[in-house]
Protein backbone atom coordinates (compact mmCIF):
# COMPACT_ATOMS: atom_id res chain seq x y z
CA UNK A 1 0.00 0.00 0.00
CA UNK A 2 2.01 2.89 -1.27
CA UNK A 3 -0.41 5.32 0.15
CA UNK A 4 -0.05 3.85 3.58
CA UNK A 5 3.71 3.65 3.23
CA UNK A 6 4.00 7.29 2.39
CA UNK A 7 1.69 8.23 5.25
CA UNK A 8 3.84 6.21 7.61
CA UNK A 9 7.01 7.80 6.31
CA UNK A 10 5.56 11.24 6.79
CA UNK A 11 4.27 10.40 10.23
CA UNK A 12 7.70 9.15 11.20
CA UNK A 13 9.04 12.55 10.39
CA UNK A 14 6.49 14.15 12.65
CA UNK A 15 3.66 14.85 10.21
CA UNK A 16 0.66 14.78 12.49
CA UNK A 17 -1.89 15.01 9.72
CA UNK A 18 -0.43 11.94 8.07
CA UNK A 19 -0.78 10.13 11.35
CA UNK A 20 -4.37 11.29 11.66
CA UNK A 21 -5.06 9.74 8.28
CA UNK A 22 -3.55 6.47 9.42
CA UNK A 23 -5.76 6.56 12.47
CA UNK A 24 -8.87 7.20 10.43
CA UNK A 25 -8.12 4.16 8.36
CA UNK A 26 -7.63 1.91 11.37
CA UNK A 27 -9.88 3.25 14.06
CA UNK A 28 -12.76 0.93 13.25
CA UNK A 29 -10.84 -2.27 13.73
CA UNK A 30 -8.92 -1.04 16.73
CA UNK A 31 -12.00 0.22 18.50
CA UNK A 32 -13.95 -2.96 17.85
CA UNK A 33 -11.09 -4.97 19.21
CA UNK A 34 -10.88 -2.98 22.42
CA UNK A 35 -14.66 -2.87 22.74
CA UNK A 36 -15.07 -6.62 22.60
CA UNK A 37 -12.05 -7.22 24.76
CA UNK A 38 -13.11 -4.89 27.54
CA UNK A 39 -16.86 -5.14 27.13
CA UNK A 40 -17.56 -1.47 27.67
CA UNK A 41 -17.34 1.58 25.42
CA UNK A 42 -15.61 3.87 27.91
CA UNK A 43 -12.67 1.57 28.49
CA UNK A 44 -12.63 0.76 24.80
CA UNK A 45 -12.36 4.38 23.79
CA UNK A 46 -9.69 5.00 26.39
CA UNK A 47 -7.63 2.00 25.37
CA UNK A 48 -8.01 2.77 21.68
CA UNK A 49 -6.75 6.26 22.26
CA UNK A 50 -3.91 4.85 24.32
CA UNK A 51 -2.95 2.48 21.56
CA UNK A 52 -2.97 5.22 18.97
CA UNK A 53 -1.05 7.56 21.18
CA UNK A 54 1.54 4.88 21.83
CA UNK A 55 1.71 4.29 18.12
CA UNK A 56 2.45 7.93 17.59
CA UNK A 57 5.12 7.96 20.25
CA UNK A 58 6.73 4.85 18.92
CA UNK A 59 6.22 5.25 15.22
CA UNK A 60 9.87 5.86 14.56
CA UNK A 61 10.30 2.28 15.67
CA UNK A 62 7.91 0.85 13.13
CA UNK A 63 10.06 -1.09 10.71
CA UNK A 64 7.54 -2.04 8.11
CA UNK A 65 8.24 -5.75 8.43
CA UNK A 66 4.67 -6.28 9.44
CA UNK A 67 1.73 -4.31 8.19
CA UNK A 68 0.86 -1.17 10.01
CA UNK A 69 -2.49 -2.63 11.00
CA UNK A 70 -0.78 -5.65 12.49
CA UNK A 71 1.50 -3.43 14.51
CA UNK A 72 -1.43 -1.37 15.72
CA UNK A 73 -3.37 -4.47 16.61
CA UNK A 74 -0.51 -5.70 18.66
CA UNK A 75 -0.31 -2.43 20.59
CA UNK A 76 -4.04 -2.38 21.17
CA UNK A 77 -4.30 -6.04 21.99
CA UNK A 78 -1.46 -5.95 24.49
CA UNK A 79 -2.92 -2.86 26.10
CA UNK A 80 -6.19 -4.71 26.49
CA UNK A 81 -4.59 -7.77 28.01
CA UNK A 82 -2.62 -5.68 30.48
CA UNK A 83 -5.69 -3.69 31.35
CA UNK A 84 -7.78 -6.79 31.88
CA UNK A 85 -5.14 -8.48 33.96
CA UNK A 86 -4.91 -5.46 36.17
CA UNK A 87 -8.66 -5.15 36.49
CA UNK A 88 -8.96 -8.79 37.24
CA UNK A 89 -6.31 -8.71 39.90
CA UNK A 90 -7.83 -5.75 41.53
CA UNK A 91 -11.43 -6.59 41.38
CA UNK A 92 -12.01 -10.24 41.55
CA UNK A 93 -10.43 -13.06 43.38
CA UNK A 94 -12.77 -15.60 41.93
CA UNK A 95 -12.65 -14.30 38.42
CA UNK A 96 -13.63 -16.83 35.85
CA UNK A 97 -10.47 -17.38 33.90
CA UNK A 98 -6.84 -16.59 33.71
CA UNK A 99 -4.86 -16.38 30.55
CA UNK A 100 -3.77 -19.67 29.07
CA UNK A 101 -5.95 -21.70 31.30
CA UNK A 102 -8.79 -23.46 29.57
CA UNK A 103 -9.41 -25.67 32.51
CA UNK A 104 -10.38 -22.78 34.70
CA UNK A 105 -12.51 -21.50 31.91
CA UNK A 106 -14.52 -24.67 31.84
CA UNK A 107 -14.94 -24.63 35.55
CA UNK A 108 -16.07 -21.08 35.50
CA UNK A 109 -18.79 -21.50 32.95
CA UNK A 110 -22.32 -21.37 34.15
CA UNK A 111 -23.41 -24.85 35.14
CA UNK A 112 -26.06 -26.31 32.90
CA UNK A 113 -28.35 -27.23 35.73
CA UNK A 114 -28.70 -23.63 36.76
CA UNK A 115 -29.65 -22.17 33.47
CA UNK A 116 -31.04 -24.90 31.34
CA UNK A 117 -33.88 -24.01 29.02
CA UNK A 118 -36.39 -25.71 31.27
CA UNK A 119 -36.02 -23.16 34.02
CA UNK A 120 -37.35 -19.61 33.85
CA UNK A 121 -34.20 -18.12 32.46
CA UNK A 122 -34.88 -15.23 30.18
CA UNK A 123 -34.18 -16.11 26.57
CA UNK A 124 -31.90 -13.46 25.25
CA UNK A 125 -31.44 -12.31 21.74
CA UNK A 126 -28.60 -14.28 20.26
CA UNK A 127 -26.42 -11.30 19.58
CA UNK A 128 -26.73 -9.97 23.11
CA UNK A 129 -25.94 -13.43 24.39
CA UNK A 130 -22.89 -13.57 22.19
CA UNK A 131 -21.70 -10.27 23.60
CA UNK A 132 -22.08 -11.63 27.06
CA UNK A 133 -20.46 -14.88 26.09
CA UNK A 134 -17.44 -13.07 24.72
CA UNK A 135 -16.91 -11.47 28.09
CA UNK A 136 -17.07 -14.84 29.75
CA UNK A 137 -14.31 -16.27 27.63
CA UNK A 138 -10.69 -16.20 28.58
CA UNK A 139 -8.85 -13.21 27.22
CA UNK A 140 -6.90 -15.54 25.01
CA UNK A 141 -10.01 -16.95 23.37
CA UNK A 142 -11.75 -13.63 23.23
CA UNK A 143 -8.79 -12.09 21.51
CA UNK A 144 -8.60 -14.55 18.63
CA UNK A 145 -12.33 -14.73 18.18
CA UNK A 146 -12.73 -10.97 18.01
CA UNK A 147 -9.87 -10.64 15.58
CA UNK A 148 -11.26 -13.37 13.35
CA UNK A 149 -14.96 -12.72 13.46
CA UNK A 150 -15.23 -9.00 14.00
CA UNK A 151 -12.04 -7.61 12.58
CA UNK A 152 -11.93 -10.18 9.85
CA UNK A 153 -8.25 -10.98 10.18
CA UNK A 154 -7.00 -14.13 8.55
CA UNK A 155 -5.25 -16.85 10.51
CA UNK A 156 -1.96 -15.60 9.12
CA UNK A 157 -2.67 -12.03 10.17
CA UNK A 158 -3.73 -13.10 13.62
CA UNK A 159 -0.57 -15.14 13.87
CA UNK A 160 1.43 -12.08 12.95
CA UNK A 161 -0.22 -9.97 15.62
CA UNK A 162 0.12 -12.52 18.38
CA UNK A 163 3.38 -14.10 17.28
CA UNK A 164 1.75 -17.48 16.88
CA UNK A 165 1.95 -20.20 14.29
CA UNK A 166 -1.02 -20.42 12.01
CA UNK A 167 -1.78 -23.90 13.25
CA UNK A 168 -1.93 -22.59 16.79
CA UNK A 169 -4.28 -19.85 15.68
CA UNK A 170 -6.51 -22.35 13.95
CA UNK A 171 -6.84 -24.61 16.94
CA UNK A 172 -7.25 -21.73 19.34
CA UNK A 173 -10.10 -20.32 17.28
CA UNK A 174 -11.76 -23.69 17.21
CA UNK A 175 -11.54 -23.98 20.96
CA UNK A 176 -12.74 -20.42 21.38
CA UNK A 177 -15.79 -21.11 19.24
CA UNK A 178 -16.44 -24.20 21.24
CA UNK A 179 -16.19 -22.30 24.49
CA UNK A 180 -18.49 -19.59 23.24
CA UNK A 181 -20.98 -22.14 22.07
CA UNK A 182 -20.86 -23.83 25.42
CA UNK A 183 -21.67 -20.56 27.13
CA UNK A 184 -24.63 -20.11 24.86
CA UNK A 185 -25.84 -23.58 25.68
CA UNK A 186 -25.58 -22.76 29.37
CA UNK A 187 -27.44 -19.53 28.92
CA UNK A 188 -30.22 -21.24 27.05
CA UNK A 189 -29.64 -19.85 23.60
CA UNK A 190 -28.53 -23.09 22.04
CA UNK A 191 -29.82 -26.53 22.74
CA UNK A 192 -27.36 -28.87 24.30
CA UNK A 193 -27.61 -31.86 22.07
CA UNK A 194 -23.96 -31.59 21.23
CA UNK A 195 -22.69 -31.14 24.75
CA UNK A 196 -21.45 -34.68 24.96
CA UNK A 197 -18.52 -33.68 22.82
CA UNK A 198 -17.27 -31.14 25.26
Amino acid sequence: MDDEKSLIARAQKGDQEAFAALMEANQGRIYNLTLRMTGNPEDAAELSQEAFFNAWRGISKFQGDSSFATWLYRLASNACIDFLRKEKRRKNISMTVSLDDEEKERQAELPDTRCSPEQEVERKELRAAIEEGLQALSEEHRQVLVMREISGLSYAEIGAVLHLEEGTVKSRIARARLALRKFLVSSGNFSDSASSIT
Binding site: Q12, K13, Q16, A20, M23, Q27, G28, I30, Y31, N32, L35, P41, A45, S48, Q49, E50, F52, F53, N54, W56, R57, G58, I59, S60, K61, R74, L75, N78, A79, I81, D82, F83, R85, E87, R89, K91, N92, I93, L126, R127, I130, L145, E149, I150, G152, S154, K170, S171, I173, A174, R177, L178, L180, R181, L184, F190, S193, A194, S196, I197
Partner: protein
Protein backbone atom coordinates in the same frame (compact mmCIF):
# COMPACT_ATOMS: atom_id res chain seq x y z
CA UNK B 1 -9.90 -42.95 12.78
CA UNK B 2 -10.75 -39.65 14.37
CA UNK B 3 -13.11 -38.98 17.19
CA UNK B 4 -15.45 -36.03 17.32
CA UNK B 5 -12.96 -33.74 19.02
CA UNK B 6 -10.72 -33.95 15.97
CA UNK B 7 -13.51 -32.79 13.75
CA UNK B 8 -14.13 -29.66 15.80
CA UNK B 9 -11.09 -28.02 14.29
CA UNK B 10 -12.17 -28.96 10.79
CA UNK B 11 -15.65 -27.65 11.42
CA UNK B 12 -14.18 -24.41 12.68
CA UNK B 13 -11.62 -24.08 9.91
CA UNK B 14 -14.22 -24.69 7.29
CA UNK B 15 -16.06 -21.56 8.43
CA UNK B 16 -12.99 -19.56 7.61
CA UNK B 17 -12.34 -21.24 4.28
CA UNK B 18 -9.22 -23.26 3.78
CA UNK B 19 -10.09 -26.91 3.95
CA UNK B 20 -8.50 -29.10 1.39
CA UNK B 21 -10.72 -31.17 -0.79
CA UNK B 22 -9.70 -34.22 1.14
CA UNK B 23 -10.49 -32.61 4.49
CA UNK B 24 -13.82 -31.39 3.17
CA UNK B 25 -14.78 -34.85 2.05
CA UNK B 26 -13.73 -36.41 5.31
CA UNK B 27 -15.66 -33.88 7.31
CA UNK B 28 -18.80 -34.27 5.27
CA UNK B 29 -18.62 -37.99 5.64
CA UNK B 30 -18.43 -37.65 9.40
CA UNK B 31 -21.18 -35.08 9.61
CA UNK B 32 -23.47 -37.31 7.63
CA UNK B 33 -23.07 -39.96 10.29
CA UNK B 34 -22.88 -37.85 13.46
CA UNK B 35 -25.84 -35.76 14.58
CA UNK B 36 -23.92 -34.38 17.52
CA UNK B 37 -21.25 -32.86 15.30
CA UNK B 38 -23.91 -31.70 12.91
CA UNK B 39 -25.60 -29.75 15.65
CA UNK B 40 -22.29 -28.32 16.73
CA UNK B 41 -21.46 -27.29 13.18
CA UNK B 42 -24.80 -25.55 12.92
CA UNK B 43 -24.25 -23.66 16.15
CA UNK B 44 -20.80 -22.60 15.14
CA UNK B 45 -22.08 -21.42 11.79
CA UNK B 46 -24.71 -19.33 13.55
CA UNK B 47 -22.05 -17.71 15.70
CA UNK B 48 -19.87 -17.14 12.69
CA UNK B 49 -22.71 -15.37 10.95
CA UNK B 50 -23.80 -13.24 13.89
CA UNK B 51 -20.49 -12.12 15.30
CA UNK B 52 -19.44 -9.78 12.50
CA UNK B 53 -22.66 -7.90 13.13
CA UNK B 54 -21.33 -6.90 16.51
CA UNK B 55 -19.00 -4.46 14.82
CA UNK B 56 -19.82 -0.87 15.66
CA UNK B 57 -18.66 2.51 14.55
CA UNK B 58 -15.96 4.00 16.73
CA UNK B 59 -16.83 7.17 18.61
CA UNK B 60 -16.74 10.21 16.40
CA UNK B 61 -14.18 12.01 18.51
CA UNK B 62 -11.69 9.19 18.87
CA UNK B 63 -9.20 10.38 16.31
CA UNK B 64 -9.58 14.00 17.29
CA UNK B 65 -8.96 13.20 20.94
CA UNK B 66 -5.70 11.53 20.07
CA UNK B 67 -4.72 14.38 17.78
CA UNK B 68 -5.41 16.85 20.54
CA UNK B 69 -3.14 14.95 22.88
CA UNK B 70 -0.48 14.74 20.25
CA UNK B 71 -0.63 18.44 19.52
CA UNK B 72 -0.56 19.40 23.14
CA UNK B 73 2.07 16.99 24.22
CA UNK B 74 5.04 17.15 21.92
CA UNK B 75 5.97 18.34 18.48
CA UNK B 76 7.35 15.02 17.39
CA UNK B 77 7.73 11.40 18.34
CA UNK B 78 10.33 10.27 20.82
CA UNK B 79 13.69 11.06 19.28
CA UNK B 80 15.64 8.29 20.90
CA UNK B 81 15.17 4.55 20.79
CA UNK B 82 12.43 3.42 23.08
CA UNK B 83 14.55 0.63 24.49
CA UNK B 84 16.96 3.09 25.85
CA UNK B 85 14.14 4.95 27.43
CA UNK B 86 12.71 1.79 28.84
CA UNK B 87 15.88 0.39 30.26
CA UNK B 88 17.52 3.50 31.55
CA UNK B 89 14.88 6.02 32.28
CA UNK B 90 16.93 7.60 35.00
CA UNK B 91 19.86 8.08 32.75
CA UNK B 92 17.66 9.92 30.37
CA UNK B 93 16.47 12.15 33.13
CA UNK B 94 19.94 12.81 34.36
CA UNK B 95 21.25 13.41 30.91
CA UNK B 96 18.79 16.21 30.63
CA UNK B 97 20.41 17.60 33.67
CA UNK B 98 19.55 18.40 37.20
CA UNK B 99 20.48 22.00 36.53
CA UNK B 100 18.11 22.31 33.68
CA UNK B 101 15.36 20.77 35.74
CA UNK B 102 15.90 23.12 38.60
CA UNK B 103 16.12 26.01 36.23
CA UNK B 104 12.94 25.03 34.53
CA UNK B 105 11.20 24.70 37.82
CA UNK B 106 12.36 28.07 38.97
CA UNK B 107 11.58 29.75 35.68
CA UNK B 108 8.23 28.19 35.25
CA UNK B 109 7.09 28.18 38.79
CA UNK B 110 6.53 31.81 39.53
CA UNK B 111 5.06 32.53 36.16
CA UNK B 112 2.77 29.59 36.43
CA UNK B 113 1.51 30.65 39.77
CA UNK B 114 0.76 34.14 38.64
CA UNK B 115 -0.74 33.34 35.34
CA UNK B 116 -2.41 30.25 36.55
CA UNK B 117 -1.21 28.57 33.46
CA UNK B 118 1.68 26.71 32.06
CA UNK B 119 3.36 26.56 28.77
CA UNK B 120 4.43 23.00 28.68
CA UNK B 121 7.13 23.44 26.16
CA UNK B 122 8.79 26.25 28.03
CA UNK B 123 10.91 23.89 30.03
CA UNK B 124 13.15 23.31 27.11
CA UNK B 125 13.02 19.61 27.61
CA UNK B 126 13.49 17.15 24.82
CA UNK B 127 10.34 16.17 23.03
CA UNK B 128 8.07 14.43 25.34
CA UNK B 129 9.85 15.45 28.46
CA UNK B 130 8.41 18.85 29.05
CA UNK B 131 4.91 17.83 29.95
CA UNK B 132 6.10 15.21 32.30
CA UNK B 133 8.40 17.55 34.03
CA UNK B 134 6.21 20.51 34.25
CA UNK B 135 2.68 19.38 34.36
CA UNK B 136 2.24 16.28 36.18
CA UNK B 137 1.93 15.64 39.81
CA UNK B 138 -0.44 12.79 39.82
CA UNK B 139 1.69 10.58 37.70
CA UNK B 140 4.65 10.60 39.96
CA UNK B 141 6.48 8.03 37.95
CA UNK B 142 7.37 10.50 35.32
CA UNK B 143 11.01 11.03 35.99
CA UNK B 144 11.54 7.42 35.41
CA UNK B 145 9.54 7.65 32.29
CA UNK B 146 7.04 5.07 33.29
CA UNK B 147 3.33 4.77 33.43
CA UNK B 148 1.14 5.69 36.29
CA UNK B 149 -0.86 4.73 38.26
CA UNK B 150 1.86 2.59 39.70
CA UNK B 151 4.84 4.86 39.65
CA UNK B 152 8.17 3.23 39.92
CA UNK B 153 10.84 4.25 42.38
CA UNK B 154 13.29 6.56 40.80
CA UNK B 155 16.51 6.88 42.63
CA UNK B 156 18.58 9.92 42.07
CA UNK B 157 18.52 13.15 43.82
CA UNK B 158 17.37 14.83 40.66
CA UNK B 159 13.99 13.43 41.34
CA UNK B 160 13.66 15.28 44.54
CA UNK B 161 13.82 18.79 43.30
CA UNK B 162 10.68 18.44 41.27
CA UNK B 163 8.39 18.63 44.19
CA UNK B 164 6.00 18.82 41.32
CA UNK B 165 5.53 15.17 41.87
CA UNK B 166 5.02 15.32 45.54
CA UNK B 167 2.58 17.88 46.49
CA UNK B 168 -1.07 18.15 45.88
CA UNK B 169 -2.09 21.46 47.29
CA UNK B 170 -4.97 20.91 49.61
CA UNK B 171 -7.64 23.47 50.00
CA UNK B 172 -6.52 26.21 52.23
CA UNK B 173 -3.24 24.57 52.64
CA UNK B 174 -1.51 25.39 49.43
CA UNK B 175 2.17 25.82 49.52
CA UNK B 176 2.45 29.11 47.75
CA UNK B 177 6.17 29.17 47.28
CA UNK B 178 6.25 25.64 46.05
CA UNK B 179 5.62 26.74 42.55
CA UNK B 180 6.05 23.43 40.85
CA UNK B 181 3.42 21.94 43.06
CA UNK B 182 1.01 24.59 42.01
CA UNK B 183 1.65 24.14 38.38
CA UNK B 184 -0.22 20.96 37.77
CA UNK B 185 -3.30 22.14 39.56
CA UNK B 186 -3.42 25.49 37.92
CA UNK B 187 -2.10 24.32 34.63
CA UNK B 188 -4.79 21.86 33.97
CA UNK B 189 -7.69 24.19 33.52
CA UNK B 190 -5.86 26.94 31.81
CA UNK B 191 -3.48 25.28 29.51
CA UNK B 192 -2.98 27.49 26.54
CA UNK B 193 -5.04 26.21 23.74
CA UNK B 194 -6.27 23.22 25.61
CA UNK B 195 -9.39 22.51 27.54
CA UNK B 196 -9.63 21.07 30.98
CA UNK B 197 -10.62 17.52 30.21
CA UNK B 198 -7.92 17.19 27.68
CA UNK B 199 -5.32 18.72 29.92
CA UNK B 200 -6.16 16.62 32.90
CA UNK B 201 -6.31 13.53 30.83
CA UNK B 202 -3.05 14.23 29.27
CA UNK B 203 -0.63 13.49 32.06
CA UNK B 204 -2.15 10.11 32.46
CA UNK B 205 -1.73 9.37 28.84
CA UNK B 206 1.75 10.79 28.71
CA UNK B 207 3.09 8.45 31.22
CA UNK B 208 1.53 5.41 29.78
CA UNK B 209 2.73 6.39 26.39
CA UNK B 210 6.14 7.01 27.73
CA UNK B 211 6.33 3.52 28.99
CA UNK B 212 4.63 1.96 26.08
CA UNK B 213 5.96 3.91 23.18
CA UNK B 214 7.45 0.87 21.62
CA UNK B 215 6.33 -1.94 19.46
CA UNK B 216 6.55 -4.79 21.88
CA UNK B 217 4.00 -5.28 24.60
CA UNK B 218 3.65 -2.12 26.53
CA UNK B 219 4.38 -2.00 30.17
CA UNK B 220 0.71 -1.88 30.73
CA UNK B 221 -1.52 0.65 32.15
CA UNK B 222 -0.25 0.26 35.57
CA UNK B 223 3.37 0.57 34.72
CA UNK B 224 4.28 -2.71 36.26
CA UNK B 225 6.96 -4.12 34.12
CA UNK B 226 10.47 -5.27 33.98
CA UNK B 227 11.29 -1.60 34.03
CA UNK B 228 11.06 -1.78 37.74
CA UNK B 229 13.93 -4.13 37.94
CA UNK B 230 15.73 -2.62 35.03
CA UNK B 231 15.41 0.87 36.27
CA UNK B 232 16.17 0.03 39.80
CA UNK B 233 19.12 -2.24 39.76
CA UNK B 234 22.41 -0.61 40.22
CA UNK B 235 20.99 2.73 41.12
CA UNK B 236 21.88 4.60 44.21
CA UNK B 237 19.40 4.52 47.04
CA UNK B 238 16.80 7.14 46.79
CA UNK B 239 17.44 10.29 48.69
CA UNK B 240 14.58 12.11 50.21
CA UNK B 241 16.28 15.46 50.42
CA UNK B 242 15.53 18.15 47.97
CA UNK B 243 18.01 19.84 45.71
CA UNK B 244 16.13 23.02 45.37
CA UNK B 245 17.97 26.16 46.34
CA UNK B 246 17.25 27.05 49.95
CA UNK B 247 14.67 29.69 49.24
CA UNK B 248 12.69 27.13 47.32
CA UNK B 249 13.05 24.27 49.69
CA UNK B 250 12.65 25.91 53.05
CA UNK B 251 9.01 26.77 52.69
CA UNK B 252 8.52 23.43 51.06
CA UNK B 253 9.86 21.51 54.01
CA UNK B 254 7.93 23.51 56.50
CA UNK B 255 4.58 23.01 54.88
CA UNK B 256 5.09 19.75 53.07
CA UNK B 257 5.03 17.09 55.73
CA UNK B 258 1.91 15.11 55.17
CA UNK B 259 -0.48 13.71 57.65
CA UNK B 260 -1.51 10.12 57.24
CA UNK B 261 -4.79 11.08 55.66
CA UNK B 262 -3.12 13.52 53.31
CA UNK B 263 -0.84 10.74 52.21
CA UNK B 264 -3.86 8.52 51.79
CA UNK B 265 -5.50 11.20 49.70
CA UNK B 266 -2.52 11.46 47.46
CA UNK B 267 -2.38 7.72 47.11
CA UNK B 268 -6.01 7.53 46.22
CA UNK B 269 -5.76 10.33 43.68
CA UNK B 270 -2.76 8.83 41.97
CA UNK B 271 -3.38 5.16 42.14
CA UNK B 272 -6.94 4.25 42.75
CA UNK B 273 -9.32 6.99 41.84
CA UNK B 274 -9.42 6.03 38.21
CA UNK B 275 -10.55 2.53 38.95
CA UNK B 276 -12.65 3.35 41.98
CA UNK B 277 -14.03 6.84 41.56
CA UNK B 278 -16.51 6.50 44.39
CA UNK B 279 -14.39 5.22 47.18
CA UNK B 280 -15.15 6.12 50.75
CA UNK B 281 -12.60 8.10 52.66
CA UNK B 282 -12.27 6.84 56.19
CA UNK B 283 -10.43 8.52 59.02
CA UNK B 284 -10.81 6.52 62.17
CA UNK B 285 -8.43 5.43 64.81
CA UNK B 286 -8.50 1.86 63.60
CA UNK B 287 -8.70 2.57 59.89
CA UNK B 288 -7.16 5.37 57.93
CA UNK B 289 -7.48 5.22 54.20
CA UNK B 290 -10.07 4.51 51.60
CA UNK B 291 -12.60 1.77 51.24
CA UNK B 292 -12.48 1.23 47.51
CA UNK B 293 -15.28 -1.26 47.41
CA UNK B 294 -17.46 -1.97 50.40
CA UNK B 295 -18.45 -5.52 50.98
CA UNK B 296 -20.57 -6.73 48.12
CA UNK B 297 -21.60 -9.83 46.28
CA UNK B 298 -19.21 -10.86 43.60
CA UNK B 299 -21.82 -12.56 41.57
CA UNK B 300 -25.14 -10.86 41.65
CA UNK B 301 -27.02 -13.63 40.03
CA UNK B 302 -25.96 -16.26 42.46
CA UNK B 303 -26.50 -14.95 45.97
CA UNK B 304 -25.20 -18.00 47.75
CA UNK B 305 -21.82 -17.12 46.55
CA UNK B 306 -19.10 -14.79 47.59
CA UNK B 307 -18.55 -11.36 48.94
CA UNK B 308 -15.53 -9.21 48.63
CA UNK B 309 -14.33 -5.77 49.47
CA UNK B 310 -11.25 -3.77 48.61
CA UNK B 311 -9.51 -0.99 50.34
CA UNK B 312 -6.25 0.74 50.96
CA UNK B 313 -5.36 1.46 54.54
CA UNK B 314 -2.54 2.87 56.53
CA UNK B 315 -0.36 0.25 58.09
CA UNK B 316 2.45 2.15 59.72
CA UNK B 317 5.51 4.18 59.05
CA UNK B 318 8.65 2.82 57.50
CA UNK B 319 11.46 2.20 59.95
CA UNK B 320 13.23 5.37 58.95
CA UNK B 321 10.08 7.37 59.47
CA UNK B 322 10.21 8.68 55.94
CA UNK B 323 7.40 6.75 54.40
CA UNK B 324 3.83 6.02 55.27
CA UNK B 325 3.17 2.44 54.36
CA UNK B 326 -0.25 1.60 53.07
CA UNK B 327 -1.57 -1.74 52.07
CA UNK B 328 -4.04 -2.58 49.35
CA UNK B 329 -6.10 -5.34 50.80
CA UNK B 330 -8.94 -7.54 49.82
CA UNK B 331 -11.47 -9.06 52.13
CA UNK B 332 -13.45 -12.09 51.26
CA UNK B 333 -16.26 -14.07 52.74
CA UNK B 334 -18.52 -16.79 51.56
CA UNK B 335 -21.43 -18.73 52.80
CA UNK B 336 -19.30 -21.74 53.50
CA UNK B 337 -17.00 -19.88 55.76
CA UNK B 338 -20.06 -18.64 57.59
CA UNK B 339 -19.34 -15.15 56.41
CA UNK B 340 -16.15 -15.05 58.34
CA UNK B 341 -14.01 -12.43 56.68
CA UNK B 342 -10.57 -13.21 55.48
CA UNK B 343 -8.13 -10.57 54.45
CA UNK B 344 -5.36 -10.66 51.93
CA UNK B 345 -2.74 -8.03 51.62
CA UNK B 346 -2.39 -7.55 47.90
CA UNK B 347 0.39 -5.04 47.80
CA UNK B 348 2.10 -2.41 49.87
CA UNK B 349 2.61 1.16 48.86
CA UNK B 350 4.87 3.78 50.35
CA UNK B 351 4.04 7.46 50.38
CA UNK B 352 6.82 9.89 51.29
CA UNK B 353 6.02 11.65 54.51
CA UNK B 354 7.75 14.74 53.28
CA UNK B 355 5.46 15.01 50.35
CA UNK B 356 8.42 14.95 48.01
CA UNK B 357 9.00 12.05 45.74
CA UNK B 358 7.19 9.18 44.16
CA UNK B 359 4.80 6.80 45.68
CA UNK B 360 6.57 3.46 45.83
CA UNK B 361 4.84 0.26 44.95
CA UNK B 362 5.67 -3.21 46.05
CA UNK B 363 6.28 -5.41 43.02
CA UNK B 364 3.53 -7.92 42.66
CA UNK B 365 3.55 -9.77 39.43
CA UNK B 366 6.59 -11.94 39.00
CA UNK B 367 5.63 -12.55 35.39
CA UNK B 368 6.59 -9.02 34.64
CA UNK B 369 10.18 -9.59 35.60
CA UNK B 370 12.92 -11.23 33.66
CA UNK B 371 13.83 -13.61 36.41
CA UNK B 372 13.14 -14.64 39.95
CA UNK B 373 16.26 -12.78 40.98
CA UNK B 374 15.09 -9.63 39.32
CA UNK B 375 11.78 -9.94 41.07
CA UNK B 376 13.39 -10.58 44.43
CA UNK B 377 15.71 -7.66 43.91
CA UNK B 378 12.82 -5.40 43.13
CA UNK B 379 10.98 -6.54 46.25
CA UNK B 380 14.05 -5.91 48.39
CA UNK B 381 14.49 -2.54 46.82
CA UNK B 382 10.99 -1.58 47.68
CA UNK B 383 11.32 -2.55 51.31
CA UNK B 384 14.74 -0.98 51.63
CA UNK B 385 13.37 2.24 50.25
CA UNK B 386 10.31 2.53 52.41
CA UNK B 387 12.26 1.69 55.52
CA UNK B 388 14.97 4.21 54.83
Amino acid sequence: MRDCMDYIELISARLDGGLTAGQEAELNEHLAACPVCRALAEDMAALHEEMPKLAVEPPADLVENVMARIRAEAPQPIPFPAEQAKRTPNRKWRAWGATAAVLAVVLLGAAALRMGGLDRSAGGAPAGEAPMMAVNDNEAALPSGKAAPMPQPSPSSVLQEPSVFGILPKDGEAVPSLNPAEMPESAAPSDAGGDAPQATEQPRVDTRAEATGREEPPAGLDGESGDLAGGKSGEAPMSVTTNLPPEESAPADAAAVLTVMEAADRLYEEQFKQTWPEAERVDREDFQGYVLEPFHLIREEDPESEWTSFGVRFKGKGEGGNYYIFVLYQEYADEQSALERRTWELEHLGVPVSGNGDVLTEPQNIDLFDSQDAYDAACSSFWDEVNQ
